[in-house]
């Protein structure tokens, strides 16, 4: 079920295009990855969703309704550039920020206490931000983003500045929020976390959306006839048997099993490969190589830049 969508969104700054006819659709209770190189237009799109800037044309919808200023209370936004008031007690500014999102003071305190307990930072309540390390500040910032229980959460590089233990804690909390009903838009350059967390992604490059879909489906779409074969036998014989028909991209020789990475071309099928190998080697395993999101990202962006 669609929870959020952007339809034909255009935005031009002075003479640079930030977004050109961008459409995205985010399902309810899913994690949507918003990917793209630096300067692609991701932040502009996020700011349009947050009603910080207005699109030149096109619209954004929340639960089927056109979004308005009143909806911003339902959004939690963690920008890439973090910041809190330097000379203000942590508890006080968390309450203030929650109130700005439309919470009552009473509810804000109640919810904040739950989160502070959960992150075991209750002792920081009366400290100034200046006294905390960067990672600690990130925790506070995360809490201020989610405390008003927004239906739509936007995280821009949420894991930057966290150590692996805290990054993992945060990952769990993000998944929990989704399971509790939140819909999440997640922007990052860390493709590992995209594979781990995202259900859907959209890849934006130079103001255009170039790829969109389910993560597994996209990775499958970008597979490029590359296979990994483990075998017992002599690499030289294998190499000679394949020459002229199948390209060997890589090979590893090992005591237990050798491995080659090959690419089909000239319309050769898997069976052709196996037939060529049977006389010279014992095949142990045969697997098509699925590209990582990192590969997909690079390939898709390079292809789109070539156009």
């Amino acid at each position: 079920m669609e929870f959020f969508s952007a339809r034909n969104v255009n935005k031009v700054f002075a003479d640079t295009k930030a977004l050109t006819d961008v459409n995205i659709s985010v399902n309810k209770q899913s994690i949507f990855g918003l990917l793209g190189p630096n300067g692609a237009g991701k932040t502009t799109l996020i700011r349009i969703i947050n009603q910080i800037t207005a699109p030149d044309s096109g619209e954004v919808f929340l639960e089927g309704r056109k979004m308005s200023r009143a909806d911003i209370g339902q959004i939690g936004y963690l920008p890439e550039e973090r910041g809190l008031y330097k000379k203000m007690k942590i508890g006080d500014q968390a309450i203030y920020l929650a109130q700005l999102k439309g919470m009552s003071r009473h509810d804000a305190i109640k919810n904040l206490k739950v989160w502070f307990e959960k992150f075991e930072i209750m002792t920081w309540w009366n400290k100034n931000i200046e006294e905390l390390s960067k990672g600690m500040q990130q925790k506070v910032q995360f809490i201020t983003t989610v405390v008003h229980k927004p239906k739509l959460l936007i995280f821009d590089e949420p894991f930057s500045g966290f150590d692996p233990i805290n990054a993992n804690l945060l990952k769990q909390e993000i998944l929990n929020l989704r399971d509790e009903g939140a819909t999440i838009i997640f922007s990052t350059h860390n493709m590992g976390s995209v594979e781990e967390l995202c259900d859907h992604i959209a890849l934006i490059n130079k103001s255009h959306k170039i790829v969109e879909g389910q993560v597994d489906e996209i990775r499958a779409r970008y597979k490029s006839n590359v296979f990994e074969v483990k075998y017992r036998g002599d690499f030289d014989k294998v190499s000679r048997a394949l020459s002229g028909q199948i390209k060997v991209l890589d090979h590893i020789e090992d005591k237990r099993a050798n491995q080659i990475t090959v690419e089909h071309y000239n319309g050769k099928s898997n069976n052709d490969l196996i037939q060529a190998l049977i006389p010279v080697a014992e095949i142990l395993s045969f697997e098509e190589k699925i590209p990582s999101m990192n590969d997909v990202f690079i390939k898709a962006v390079q292809e789109s830049n070539r156009k």
Binding site: P79, Q172, D179
Partner: protein, 468 residues
Amino acid sequence: MNDKSPDSHFPTSVFGLPTFLKMNKTLLILKQEYLKRVKKKSFIILTLLVPFLMAGMFALIIFLSINNDKKERNIAVYDESGLFLGEFGNEGYTKYTFIQKEQYTKLSSGLKETEFYGVLYIPGDIYTNNSAQLISEKQIPFEVNEQIERKLSRFIENDKKSKIIAESGIPDLGERLEATKTSISLKTLKISEGGEAKSSSSAMAFGASYAMGFIIYFFVFMYGAMVMRSVMEEKKSRIIEVIISSVKPFELMAGKIIGTALVGLTQVAIWVVLGIAVMFGVQSFFSPETAQQMGQSIMEGQQNMNPAAMQTVEPNKAMEILDMIGNLNLPFILFSFVFYFLFGYLLYSSLMGAVGAAVDNDEDSQQMVFPVTFPLILSIMVLFPIARNPEGPVAFWFSIIPFTSPVAMLARVPYGVPLWELLLSMFLLVLTTIGAIAAAAKIYRIGLLMYGKKVNIKELIKWLRYKN
């Protein structure tokens, strides 16, 4: 992966909250800005200290002026002419002791070991030469100098006078001459448009106009800069993106400007209350005994001058001053003050807020804020000429042009301003303020998320042309 049931941590009512329970966001920001500043130690210290510093200064001046005369000074008098023996009475804290020639010779070589403060030498030919000599090892205070001069000349004058009276053969000539003494006090009247004459004092109006112009300048500058710094702080700490994803930039700006204005008003209110309290305190500390003492020392000092005139003139002067303050048209001045203060502050704080939003480092802000505050600085520079000549062309133009009128018009108000000029000035100021707020809001909105760009006036004008 997750065993918690949905909503286990949250009250489900957050989004069901009726809108009337949601606090207006501008109000929230206003409250936040206000409390943040008012709770600051520096604010509390400054606010409490200033009136006490002022009171302390006044008290010190009064204290010194009283105690100055309390110092006992013993002056040795060597009267070569032999005319003044018995005529030199002690006056105030100054005592006179007549000495002989031998002692005088001894004293003129050094006063250190003696009880004398100074030695007065009255030469034998004082009648013709009109000069005497006072030797001391210290700087002789003006009052002592003046006292001795007065005593000497008064005696010789009276002596000469009585000789003439005796020669003339008119027995009551002394009294008749005394009766010719006249003291004219000039009462300046100003005819208002209604043809009603009111007494005015140029000094009073000058003081009032200068003070008010300066107060407006000071507050507009100080609190405008406060708004600017507050905007810059949010931009520099990057919290601004979170804030404007919660509130409209205009709501944020309005909350800041009004909140800061309330801080200023709070400060003024505290000063007024403390000022009144301190005034009463000082009064009750010094009076009635001290006041009497002060009065006495003044009277003693002027005893010989014109005792009868003294007693009658002083109360009249006081009444006159009160009368003049009353004639300053206080409600009108107060209204103008509040009006120009409010709009001057709104005009400059919105512009300075926009500057704070446009720049992202302190050096740039220094550079950008100068062209914005230049008219304000200019108006304080012409404040003196305006207060001196409130009807000249400088006064006229500066009090009509909106960017300088908050200071310049206030400097003219105590003298009285033609109604049409005042209304024109107010109208233009309101119009300009509205325009400035609209322009500032635009710059503010665009500038807040603009980082790493060197901003200049040309760039700002470009921003103003952006649609939406």
